[in-house]
């Protein structure tokens, strides 16, 4: 029964905070205790998460056939698993099979997430063995303008929501003559339903460092800032540790990898303001000010941090650059549809049976994501709606589930792909309440600079309340329309400008909810469907 070989078996237990939130630390402790008793020879590696979050804690053991997964594992399952032959990948009710061969994983195209969940995030050896630094070395052999050309040719668009081509932004910064330029990584990830940035930072931090370093070489920047929201303490700690290690290895600092490039990187922690994810507001915050939005122009590429030319990109955008340089623009550009090239890291959350990360080429449909990968709702009730692209994104009914994931196709349908977050709701959802929440959230998180957003959102809550209460319903519905128009046209940034999107989509697709009709619907507590869900508090 015991692992008879002399060398210790390698067992992986994620250190990702989502896995830890359901007991991964306790599982790792139980394994280490068994090893300490001398019964088993185990080398516990804390990897990132594979993104099959409904299976967390997902324990993997290295075997000659590949990494065999078990999950979800509770600490009290560990002794039983070991006795059954976990270390040899033996059978057990929790055994899932070789993880890379599971249909959910095998069907994906993991490009940006290729290493996340596979490696020990802070091991430089692991990083190099799994293709790390190949992109940076390739970039350093090229002139900056050629790196920019490669990124432009790949078709890579900003993953932070707006989808602006990364290469074009970089070209603007490169063409500025200033001696001091910055690269800023937007790791504010405040949208509900998005967690991919966090998983990259916790699961493959050197990748982000490599991407930012390539950006620095491409545009001529010497300093970088990583603005991470304070809600992500694990990401902050992992990135800080990785930056120290990278400096120690000459991957950051003076003369990076023996080249002429000098670049250093600093972590800054946000302070609980959603609007600081908007790029100009983030720059104000980095400068030590209130996070209010700046009017554009000037664009940050020309006058950014402390008035200097600045690249501002999302975590996933920067984390995708190394692979573009390593494999060439063509390989990346070959994936996708229309003007949406490459892969998107879709995040399935909310009331969903199989929540987690699905990285696949653009063009996949909502139905494939929600029904095939996601397995329907967690509650087992019918899906009623999904919100795509965060709190400013549209609520879509199931009749629109054949819409392909494509920036332009979504925009044409009055929705947005945004950051690729998909939040599922079952049939107990009250869409008037969701519309009201969109306005409430805007009122709470508005930076306050312009009236349509600051005041309009407060009025929006009141008007929706009146509609639902049946007070002058037609007049108030007309008023809500006006208000949405005003916010769309009169707001300085997309906070006020896009809040009407969830409100209008809720109204368009679920008008009955605004007539007070759903109040009577009995809402049952959410039931687990099969898999164990409680963590160990």
């Amino acid at each position: 029964m015991n692992n008879s070989s002399h060398s210790a078996a390698t067992v992986y237990v994620p250190r990702d905070s989502a896995a830890r939130s359901v007991g991964a630390d306790e599982v790792a402790d139980a394994l280490r205790r068994a090893a300490a008793r001398g019964d088993f020879a185990i080398d516990v590696v804390r990897n990132g998460s594979r993104g099959m979050l409904w299976l967390e804690p997902l324990v993997e053991v290295a075997t000659p056939r590949g990494r065999v997964g078990y999950g979800p594992v509770r600490p009290e399952d560990v002794d039983d698993l070991l006795a059954a032959g976990l270390l040899d990948g033996a059978d057990h009710p929790l055994r899932l099979g070789v993880v890379d061969e599971l249909p959910w994983m095998a069907g994906q195209t993991r490009v940006t997430f290729a290493r996340v969940g596979v490696t020990d995030p802070l091991s430089t050896d692991d990083y190099l063995e799994h293709g790390g630094l190949v992109g940076l070395r390739a970039a350093l052999d090229l002139a900056p303008a050629d790196v920019v050309a490669e990124v432009t040719a790949s078709g890579l668009r900003g993953r932070g929501g707006a989808g602006f081509p990364a290469g074009i932004k970089w070209k603007t910064v490169l063409e500025c003559a200033d001696s001091l330029k910055f690269v800023c990584c937007n790791a504010d990830e405040g949208d509900s339903g998005t967690f991919a940035d966090r998983m990259v930072m916790e699961g493959d931090p050197f990748l982000l460092i490599e991407g930012m370093t390539i950006a620095a070489h491409a545009v001529g920047a010497s300093e970088g800032y990583l603005y991470i929201r304070s809600e992500y303490p694990d990401a902050v700690a992992t990135m800080r540790a990785a930056i120290d290690i990278a400096r120690g290895h000459g991957w950051l600092g003076k003369g990076i990898l023996g080249s002429a490039l000098d670049f250093d990187l600093h972590v800054r922690v946000g302070a609980g303001a959603y609007i600081c994810g908007e790029e100009t507001s983030m720059l104000e915050s980095l400068e030590g000010k209130r996070g209010t939005v700046r009017a554009k122009p000037p664009i940050p590429a020309i006058e950014g941090l402390f008035g200097r030319p600045t690249v501002v990109n999302n975590v996933l955008t920067l984390a995708t650059v190394p692979v573009v340089l390593a494999d060439g623009a063509k390989a990346y550009q070959d994936l996708g549809v229309g003007r949406s090239r490459g892969t998107q890291v879709f995040q399935l959350g909310g009331n969903i049976a199989h929540g987690g990360i699905v990285e696949t080429a653009f063009g996949v449909t909502l139905r494939e994501l929600v029904e095939d990968y996601g397995g329907g709702t967690f509650s087992g009730r019918p899906v009623r709606t999904v919100q795509v692209g965060g709190p400013l994104g549209a609520y879509l009914p199931t009749s629109m589930f054949d819409l392909p994931m494509d920036y332009e196709a979504f925009a044409a349908a009055g929705a947005m792909v945004g950051h690729g977050g998909i939040v599922v709701f079952d049939d107990t959802v009250d869409m008037a309440a969701q519309a009201r929440f969109a306005m409430e959230f805007c009122a709470e998180e508005s930076c306050g600079k312009c009236t349509p957003c600051r005041v309009g959102s407060v009025r929006g809550v009141e008007v929706i309340d009146k509609i639902v209460a049946g007070t002058h319903r037609d007049e108030n519905l007309a008023l809500l329309e006006d208000l949405c128009d005003l916010m769309t046209d009169g707001s300085l940034c997309a906070m006020g400008g896009l809040t009407p999107m969830p409100v209008r989509s809720a109204l368009a697709h679920f008008p009955d909810d605004f007539l007070g009709g759903r109040r009577s619907l009995e809402i049952q507590p959410v039931q687990a469907t099969g898999v164990r869900t409680e963590g160990t508090a």
Partner: protein, 159 residues
């Protein structure tokens, strides 16, 4: 260490913290985080000292402290519980957790009379596939049904 400390104590802390951040560009946010980490909140007395040290107006410093949700003007309870109320957690009944906490005498935004617990709302903890999510003193919990919140709260209240 908190408001019971004399002005000199707050001033000492602030000047020492600022000295540790001299070489940083636009250091006010890191400084405020560090002050709050030491004192549990950003007391009123810290504002003129910060203004003086960083060559800013008091209004500027005050404006920053009040803009960000994280900075507290008053000390919180010994334990801080943050319940996620954003959409993905709403879809799994986050509001039932808020209701449960309220019935347990822990309304949002308030600290218990004995100073043990403060319950707050937060919008997304990045655990949207394993909601409802709750964070207790920086530690994240997933799949928090009311009963589980109860055991988390009991653990903290009795400690």
């Amino acid at each position: 260490m908190t408001t019971s400390g004399s002005d000199a104590t707050v001033e000492d802390v602030v000047r020492r913290v600022v000295a540790g951040h001299r070489d940083q560009r636009g250091a006010l946010l890191p400084v405020l985080h560090a002050v709050q980490a030491e004192l549990g909140h950003v007391p009123q007395e810290a504002i003129p000292v910060l203004a003086d040290e960083l060559n800013l107006s008091r209004a500027d410093v005050h404006g920053v402290v009040t803009f960000y949700h994280d900075f507290r003007r008053e000390p919180a309870g010994r334990t801080t519980v943050r319940i996620c109320r954003a959409e993905a957690c709403q879809a799994l009944g986050a509001d039932r957790l808020v209701g449960y906490a309220r019935e347990a005498g822990l309304p949002l935004g308030e600290t218990t009379a004995d100073g043990s617990v403060t319950v707050e709302q937060v919008f997304c903890l990045g655990n949207c596939a394993l909601g409802p999510a709750v964070e207790v003193d920086g530690r994240l919990y997933g799949r928090v049904a009311p009963a589980r919140l109860g055991s988390i709260l009991n653990g903290t209240v009795s400690s």
